[in-house]
């Protein structure tokens, strides 16, 4: 697993809160082996570790919270193809049943459990957890996407492969079929995600929408860009403050604790968007061409990325 890193195995890659455990080439590799990774997966695991270690990811908060947040791993780019480099881009992509994306995500979960203290016996105080916490990793279907690859939109070079991480909550599968009208599709998505009990409703940070190729092409063939969709989501996935007041995380608000963007007066009729900026909407094409689905990945915080280096 260590390959050319033999001899450097004790070099510290990242110090991981909340336990402040030191992730080294060696102990990352050990956890990758337990996860069933192939050697060709290893640098993606390391990239994912580096991504969650970025301070803006707030790893200590993600691990310690009573909520079920846990890092999602998203792979974007074109690795050298081969039997060991199959990221499972098409059917059943989110399930982890095939390909290496799930192994990579599983390895990251083990690193967080064993090195960062993310187990229920120590720092993980999650009340209920959530399905997908053991592993939630997938890759973009760049072949079927009508748009630029996600990593290019995120500012990386077209030849780069990246691991993106996001503090994910549960997912919601949104089915919408039998038409090719982008406005109807958008309304189905925005009505489905505009609910009071998500962390997104309160924190309004990143929101991931994973579109099947069918949904992506309905938008693309009508001339919608990614920016157009994100803008429309931002404008239409809203709830009036009167519906949110005192519910979900808005119940926390008192005279001392209110977000700076909110006027917590009872008579406030503002429409509260699910994101505080259209650029918070992260859209990727995932899965097989048959079937009209968009999966919303709720969560908290921002998406962090790291390039997957060559060995």
């Amino acid at each position: 697993m260590l390959g050319r890193k033999l001899g450097y195995e004790n070099e510290v890659i990242a110090t991981l809160p909340p336990s402040m455990g030191q992730a080294t080439w060696s102990n990352i590799a050990a956890n990758a082996v337990i996860a069933g990774c192939a050697p060709s997966d290893f640098m993606a695991v390391v990239a994912a570790v580096r991504a969650v270690a970025q301070p803006r990811f707030l790893l200590d908060q993600v691990i310690t919270t009573v909520h079920g947040l846990w890092p999602m791993v998203f792979l974007s780019g074109e690795p050298a193809l081969g039997p060991d480099r199959d990221w499972a881009r098409e059917g059943d992509a989110l399930s982890g049943s095939t390909g290496s994306a799930a192994r990579i995500a599983r390895a990251l979960s083990l690193v967080l459990r064993n090195i960062a203290g993310g187990s229920p016996e120590t720092f993980d105080a999650s009340t209920m957890g959530r399905p997908g916490k053991l592993m939630f990793g997938f890759a973009e279907n760049t072949t079927m996407s009508p748009w630029e690859p996600w990593q290019v939109r995120a500012g990386w070079a077209s030849g780069d492969c990246i691991a993106a991480t996001y503090a994910a909550d549960s997912t919601l599968c949104i089915a919408d079929m039998g038409h090719d009208d982008p406005d109807i599709l958008l309304s189905t998505i925005t009505d489905s995600i505009s609910i009071p009990g998500t962390y997104n409703a309160f924190f309004r940070k990143d929101l991931w929408l994973l579109m099947s190729p069918t949904h992506a092409w309905i938008f693309a063939e009508a001339g919608w860009s990614i920016a157009d969709i994100a803008q429309a989501i931002s404008e239409r996935a809203t709830q009036p403050y009167g519906r949110l007041r005192g519910r979900g995380l808005f119940g926390f608000i008192d005279t001392h604790q209110a977000p700076t963007w909110l006027r917590p007066e009872p008579g406030n009729t503002d429409l509260i968007s699910i994101v505080d900026d259209p650029r918070r909407v992260q859209i990727a094409v995932v899965g097989a061409p048959t079937g009209g689905y968009t999966t919303a990945v709720f969560g908290s915080g921002v998406t962090t990325t790291e390039k997957i280096e060559h060995e």
Binding site: I34, D60, V66, T122, F123, Q257
Partner: protein, 186 residues
């Protein structure tokens, strides 16, 4: 040579102990009470601090100390970026005598409150946290990982969501008494 446990989980190696602050011989000077929780119900953190503040003033009611005690109460939600060193530096610069940090049913707040107390103690400021007993795993993990398994803390048994406003003075009485004892006894 690492054994297999250390290879997979370096936490098994343990952490270096950190310094503790000397206890106060008596309550004096500026005592900072920080409500640093996301409350399960709005205002619950303030109710905990009400009990502690009342216990402090009750304990000094017969004091003849010329220095006196002042209470500074602050509210700091523990969600988002955590910069405990900056806060501790601020407390040191203000020559704060002691600090008490509360956390409610929020585990992130609990872990962060404990880390702040450990860093405050290392900076020479007597500190304790008021945290829920129901989060004992994360409490012990934080104290152990941050090198202060011996840090004395005050806990409350009942999850806050189960309390009504009128319940607080009675439920928090023993907790508040424990805070005073922790700050003033060796």
């Amino acid at each position: 040579m690492n054994n297999h446990t250390d290879l997979i989980s370096p936490m098994a190696a343990g952490q270096s102990p950190r310094r503790s602050a000397p206890h106060l011989r008596e309550l004096f000077g500026e005592i900072v009470l920080s409500d640093s929780m996301l409350n399960i119900n709005a205002g619950w953190g303030a109710l905990i601090l009400d009990s502690i503040e009342a216990a402090i003033f009750e304990s000094i009611s017969g004091s003849t100390s010329p220095v006196g005690v002042s209470i500074t109460r602050i509210s700091r939600p523990q969600i988002g970026e955590h910069r405990p060193h900056e806060w501790i530096d601020h407390l040191v610069a203000d020559n704060v005598a002691a600090v008490v940090v509360t956390a409610g049913d929020c585990a992130t707040c609990t872990s962060r409150a404990l880390r702040e107390c450990i860093l405050a103690e290392e900076a020479g400021i007597p500190a304790t946290a008021v945290v829920p007993q129901g989060l004992s795993e994360i409490i012990h993990a934080t104290l152990r990982s941050w090198g202060r398994p011996d840090l004395r803390i005050a806990t409350f048994e009942t999850p806050l969501f189960a309390l009504k406003r009128d319940d607080f003075p009675e439920v928090m009485q023993s907790t508040a008494t424990a805070v005073i004892s922790i700050l003033t006894s060796p």
